[in-house]
Amino acid sequence: MGVFPFLVVAWILAVGLYGIVTSRHLVHLIVCLIVLQSSTYVLLLGVGYRAGAAAPYFSDIPRRTPAVDPVVQALALTDVVVEAAVTALLLALAVQAYKRFGTLDPQELVQLKG
């Protein structure tokens, strides 16, 4: 396996960035941002993974069992929820932008407001 998961991270990041740069629609742009951000989840969980180790829950396994890093899992967990809320905020902004300017094309929006 080696570095394969980290290459996946780079790929997700690059695809998301490409989508944002070439986007012609705000909702598409926001979805690309979600894709971009999900690369951080793969990175966090990949960094903390240990081959053959258990999940960091010691309810029914001995306490000394080797387990994966719980810190990165905690980070990914809060990140997922916060990201969903921030996405809602961005979509709300897109709704209002459409109402005010009648377009969802970021490039036209730039022309409108200089």
């Binding site: 396996m1 070439t22 993974y49 000394r64 809060t78 916060v82 809602a88 709300a92 005010r100």
Partner: protein, 252 residues
Amino acid sequence: MKPRQRLWLFLVAVAGLTSFYLWGLVGLPGFGHYPGPYGDIINRIAVGQTNATGVVSAVNFEYRGIDTLGEEFILFAAATGVAIVLRHLRGEREHQPTEAASPDARQDSPAVRQLSLLLTGPMLVLGWNLASHAQTSPSGGFQGGVVLASSFVLIYLAGQLLTLRRLSPVDVTDAVEAAGAAGFVAIGIAGVAMGLPYLTNFLGLGTMPGAVSSSGTIALISFFVGIEVAAAFLLIVSELLDQTLLVRQETS
């Protein structure tokens, strides 16, 4: 900037990023060879120190409590932001909610509606279960809160828009969200009032690791986070629903 120039700039930037990233990978331990030591130390001491067998929750609500407080307030700010951004624009009028605006009036699949209605209760119980078992199992306030909010969304999917609005009036949801966020802060301040550092686990840890009553403030904070997350998502969903179903642009 023209789209073409932008694409070229992007390609140059991404080439630079890729080369630095690959360079960085050379020094990393391979996938599956976690070097530690931080995660290992936490895994070794967390159960003994907090009586919580779910170490991820222990990290979230104890060792990195302040960080989670910050995350929670991002969520709080985002939900408030949605409410502010979606306020009425000039020339907009809110229609009285009627069942005509709900999916009832449209040609929705009866199967979806019945299934949603059937799942509402189990979802509510599942969300509550998740939010109250942070200390023992892979769950906690964040996950439980989202599932709790989903159970309310199912009421809408079941074609009961008016019931949803009756069950979760915006004022009440606002207040509940604020109470959830304030609860987290208050637990921290309660520690300070006792002369301890902020967010110290000042409650009894219980006698048995892994019992629902164990782990002191971890369980309590998770409960408040669950309430806050559920209310925040419910608020976001009802603001967006109001936008599509009730607020209509004036044609004049």
